[in-house]
Subunit: 207 residues, 2 copies
């Protein structure tokens, strides 16, 4: 039985759309309603193309079996790019981190997406991360440098420690150099908006 | 020619999805990327159903030819609801306002959506609003009360004045009562967070 409140306003089709829009990150019921009205005003410019892009991406995008990136081809565009440095491997937590590094254009090697960070709170254990594949790749691909590009959070740094220990144990005397991103003042950042930890780190590793 | 930056990360399919998500209200490139990754993780629970709901709503939802509401039937569910008060008509600016009033369950009459408010800045003139249909409806449907439920902004109140004058001119001696929403302290609102205008209005119309 449909509630009067649903039926009397705009029908279950719109209610269903609003419910699903409300599941987008950063959206709630109110913003979802606003988005539904916005989309219904822009059916041909945004609404239908968005529906098509969602279906297309849901059908075609897959996880790269080598690095864990998302792409419509497997292995992905980064793994198959012949212009990239084959000896440098950057370990990231999530695909979004890989994209961020790619936008920065500061890294030209290959990536390895762990699929998360270790977290006692969220119950993420080492076996939940793509760590086995990482060791195999380092051996197989002749990697000489592993960059641990993990967040400067407790969980990110715990994961970085864990991976560094794992590499030291599994690949003794391999000569693989393990590095991390530097901590410091974000470029364009004002000092008085920074937390003490960042300022201490920036001072400690002053150049 | 695809830019290296696009191709090398996640392919044009994902870039297209991100571009379209970035056109949702409140979203920008960063939140759109986050949403794309979130959706790709929830393909069956959210992504495909959302694509379906967007297509369904884009194909089936239409504007009610009587009141301007959005629904899959025309006349809409509100206009055809026999349980509603046929003599009371509530004038709102947008469909979202109609939905808000329906959620409040405080009004049981019919609605008339103007499709906007008068605005010199945005170039919205009286002929851009659904005003002709309003006069016709009031005469045809034997309306005895018109509630002007327009925003307490300069533009909303300008529009309310305009509609009230229009009704007085077009329907002299008709006995149609024109009312407006009261101004005052929002229920649950603390006094010291309110602007002076609201406090003055609340004091002036104290009961």
């Amino acid at each position: 039985v449909q509630s009067r409140r649903t039926r009397a306003t705009a029908g279950p089709e719109i209610e269903r759309l609003i419910e699903l829009l409300a599941r987008l990150p950063g959206y709630g019921p109110r913003s979802a309603r606003r988005a539904a009205l916005h989309l219904l005003k822009k059916r041909d410019a945004v609404m239908r193309p968005l529906a098509g892009a969602l279906t297309e991406a849901a059908d075609r995008v897959r996880t790269c079996s080598i690095c864990g990136n998302l792409d419509v081809i497997d292995p992905c565009g980064v793994c198959t790019d012949p212009a990239r440095d084959d000896h440098s491997l950057c370990v990231v937590a999530e695909v979004g981190d890989l994209w961020a590094l790619e936008r920065s254009a500061a890294f030209t090697g290959h990536y390895h997406v762990l699929g998360g960070v270790l977290s006692a709170l969220d119950g993420v254990r080492p076996e939940d991360l793509r760590l086995g594949g990482l060791l195999e790749r380092i051996k197989r691909e002749g990697i000489t440098e592993v960059v641990l590009a993990l967040a400067a959070t407790v969980e990110g740094q715990t994961t970085a420690h864990y991976v560094a220990d794992l590499l030291a144990d599994a690949l003794p005397d391999s000569g693989v150099q393990v590095t991390r991103l530097s901590h410091g003042v974000p470029v364009g950042g004002e000092l008085d908006h920074l937390d003490d930890g960042t300022l201490q780190a920036a001072l400690k590793s002053r150049r």
